[in-house]
């Protein structure tokens, strides 16, 4: 009896050494993950989480290096990345569908700019288009805001625009979507882009003008694939991840987790 008790006592601290689940990567995914962690903590009080951003690239890199349990990516891994991930036995788990949406300050939208063509976007971000007047908006210079290169959102957006690199001079690069939004909110002349999960009332999304017509970034359009700037959000599970991390990943992909996805403004995987 005494021995069992002793063993139990030894186990208790061990139990409390349960691993903190480490997540790093896409800030877009972070919005879902933050909400999911809060929900998850209610159900599994013992599990602790350490969240950090850094962008999708950072997420992929860290997972490959084994410096994080769960990597977050908001863009499709490149072929090279995919190979390396698979080689490292990293599981690539889609957790949500997302779209990157060009957003403008409200004043701009109210000023008349409702939709935009890809070419126009490219001109703006290349620095060729400098005033809203050219797009039928107010007579103000365009304050161009974007995310830095580590972010999946940026890669997706840039890929769409067909731009490799953007000169810094007229682009404000921010790391945090919230800062980006804050800027757009504070400004009456800014443009940026975010995952639809970050859209709120303080900014206005621009619909894309395609050949077929104007395609708004609605969940239907996104799921149907009509909206071109769609993407899948991934969770990358490191091979040596503790079972709490795996459990969390499963939770995210389960209906409860997908409900959180929807709640946070993203598009759940399946309907």
């Amino acid at each position: 009896m005494k021995r069992a008790l002793l063993l139990l006592c030894l186990l208790l601290p061990v139990a409390s050494w349960a691993e903190t689940v480490q997540l790093a990567g896409s800030t877009t995914c972070l919005k879902i993950v933050r909400a999911a962690v809060e929900e998850y903590a209610h159900l599994h009080a013992g599990t602790t989480f350490a969240l950090s951003g850094g962008g999708s690239s950072a997420g992929i890199a860290r997972v490959l290096e084994g410096r994080t349990h769960l990597g977050m990516s908001s863009c499709e891994p490149t072929r090279e990345e995919r190979q390396r991930l698979l080689a490292a036995h990293v599981r690539i788990l889609p957790i949500a569908r997302d779209a990157v949406v060009p957003v403008v300050s409200r004043a701009v939208f109210e000023g008349g700019v409702r939709h935009i063509r890809r070419a126009e976007l490219a001109d703006i971000y290349a620095g060729r288009l400098r005033n809203w007047r050219a797009l039928g908006g107010p007579d103000r210079a365009i304050l161009v805001v974007g995310k830095n290169a580590y972010h999946g959102t940026q890669r997706v957006f840039m890929r769409y625009l067909g731009l490799d690199r953007v000169p810094e001079r007229w682009l404000i690069e921010l790391d945090d979507d919230r800062d980006l939004l804050r800027l757009l909110r504070a400004s009456d002349q800014a443009i940026g882009y975010v995952g639809i999960g970050y859209l709120d009332d303080s900014v206005r999304a621009l619909a894309l003008q395609l050949e077929e017509g104007v395609v708004a970034p609605t969940p239907d359009n996104i799921r149907a694939g009509r909206y071109p700037l769609a993407r899948t959000l991934y969770l990358l599970v490191a091979p040596g991840a503790p079972h709490e991390a795996r459990a969390f990943a499963d939770f995210l992909r389960a209906p409860a987790g997908q409900a959180i996805v929807r709640k946070t403004g993203f598009v759940p995987l399946a309907q």
């Binding site: 103000r140 304050l143 007229w170 404000i172 690069e173 804050r182 800027l183 504070a186 400004s187 009456d188």
Partner: protein
Amino acid sequence: MRDRSWKAWALLMAVAVAVAVAVAVAVAVALGALRDHRLAEVRAQLSSANQAVQSFLHRDRLRLSDATARLLRDPLVRDALTRLLANASSVDRFDARHDLARAVFADHFAGFYLLDAAGRVRFSMRDADAGARSPGEVSRALKRLEMGDPFVLSHPFFWRDQLHMWGIRAMRDATGRIIGYFALALGETQVRSLVRPVGRIGRTGESYLVDSRGLMLSASRFEAELRTRGLLGAGQRSVLRVRVAEPGVGDKGQWPLTLAVREALRTHRAGVSLTGYRNYLGVPVFGAWRWDDVLQAAVITEISQQEAMVAYAKARNIVLLMLFVVMVGGLLVTLGYGRMRARAERAANRLRNMLIDSTAEAIYGVDLDGRCTFVNRAFTNMLGFEEHEVLGKMVHGLIHHSHPDGSPYPIEECNIYRAHRERTRVHRDDESFWRKDGGEVKVEYWSHPLFEGNKVVGSVVTFWDITDKRRAEAERARLERQMQHAQRLESLGVLAGGIAHDFNNLLAAILGNATLVRQFLMKDPLKAKERVDRIIQAVDKAAVLCRQMLAYSGKGKFIVKAIDLSRMVDEMTHLLEVSIDKSIVLRYHLAPNLPAVQADEAQLQQVVMNLVTNANEAIGGKSGVIAITTGLMQADAEYLAGCYAAEGVKPGRYAYVEVSDTGCGMDRATIDRIFDPFFTTKQTGRGLGMSAVLGIVRGHHGALRVYSEPGRGTTFKFLLPVDESLAPEQVREARRELARFDGGLVLVVDDEETVREMACMMLEDMGFETIAAADGQQALDMYRKHRKRIRLVLTDLTMPHVDGRELFMRLRRLDPDCRIILTSGYNSQDAIQQFAGKGLAGFVQKPFTAEALHAAVAKVLGGGQ
């Protein structure tokens, strides 16, 4: 008994109440202590949380201050600002904005404002802002910057429909003069700790900031509550919209600020309230507050009283519950115990009742007051009372209220309660109990006292009905009498037959002689005369026989005349001597001048004759003495009670004739039977003699006393009342006052208590002190003890163990000068004869009068004049 149990019950109740009160007080004290402890804990918690909040706020403010400082140090920023202040062109301005935005938003701020020295907006994210006057709160902040604060964090304020909070630094030129202000609008993450302080405790604890107007500067934890109460609009935040005041009625602008706010604003010091007050939601709370000069706001930490004291409340509830459980448990246990005891008692009672109901005897118990404590079935059957009619009632009055003859029997005299008082058993068979219907039940009862320790607590009485027994006894007595009567009748027949037979013989003798007279009258007159003499003899005999019979029946014709008994006896001497054996001596002690008695001489003669004849036969052919004594005596009631034929005989003076013999004597049983008509110990005779004697004595209103001892002899003494009228002189003589002696101790020895007492009384009257002994041994012991003082010894002759003779011998041996007077029922001559030459001082014949005793004593001691 009932009183006592009430008292015990009252005492128990008092003790229980006292205990309960003591426990309650103890519990209250303990709970009070617990409460105080908890309150102290709450105080500590609130104070530390409040302080922590303040610390966090300061830290965050410091961080912001650093951030703003850093930004301002950024060369790009400085450059931009310089350009802006220098009235740059619009392109420049756009570039400046671009650069500033990059820096500012990357640091998570929500905007910037460049103000001129007057506080107007020079440049911001929007051109539209330019020229706008800074809001009031900002002006206040600018003032403090003017006064020297390096960094000021403004309170939240509304500007252009938005909530702003700015961190502002002054921009000075080389001389230190303020050239403008640079304000950074805080983003929601930066503001978070300021807008939502960390001081949350439990479910209801919160911390918040309040400005000097009483407006909340941070977000309330209970915004939903506020909205429900209508203190906040839907979608609104509490910042700057909630006045931290006690909810009431009327204009909420007039509501008094909560205690914490009031105190914080008034004293600008830290404080705690543990007495409680109502917060802005009306909830009773405990609170801690402090005023922060840096933030220019009150920091308040509150927790609802209910939640704060929940631990105490839980403990209190547990204690009270436990107390309740204990009390209820105690009560149940007492009840249960009481019931158990009652049940045990009932069971014991059942057994007891079974036992006592199974007896044929009636049993009942009484307590000291005389109340019935239990009865058995036999009791109720025997006396007709129901159990409930008797229990608890005074039972004496119900069943034992009267004597058998109907006279009332008060409880104080009741023998049953004697058992209580005397702690003894009482057994009576001469009393009656009374049934419910009034019928009498003769009972034999035993009463046993009940003891508790050494104290009597009551009695148990058992009784049975002896009515039948008595009736049977009465019946038996009646039957016996009947039998005796029959016997008597039968014997009477026999007697009649006998008498007739004798008469027949006599008549035959008379007839025979008469015939011979007829024959010889003419021829031989002498012979005829002889025959006539014979006839006269026979007739005489017949007459005697007749008289005897008459005497026996007690109804004969008396020839009553005044007779001197001494003279009568004297005249009978020849007759008597002829009737006795030659070997027996007749002694006469005839008193002279005997007062006359009214009597039939012949009958008395017959009595004397019978007595002498019996005496003769008692001696039975051996040598012996028959002594005849006559005298006068005073017979009292007690003396007469011991006589035969003395029914209705009054005390007074009597003349007596005493016949004593030294014959074989009679035992007690024989004495009892001698007067039975046909009892005889003799071979011959019909045994009529003594019954005839008794009849004669009875007929003369006299009395007969018998005194006998087996082996010693018998004395018969018959008394006849003296005719007072005949000898008045003698009467006068008798009553002379007896002279007293001059003290001394006399030892009186007699085995008969009454004789002892009488002698003692007489001696005391004469002036002596007396001590008494019941037998010779006792007398010896006493003599040895009081030897010096004893003047005289008066002793009986016949006594058990050591008799008078033995005593006399021993006393004389012990003390040769000892004076001893002997008393005896026997004639003095015969008694004294034994002591002739041995120094007997005197003799008194029993029964003796005071005079006789006095005379004897006087003779011995001399004096007594």
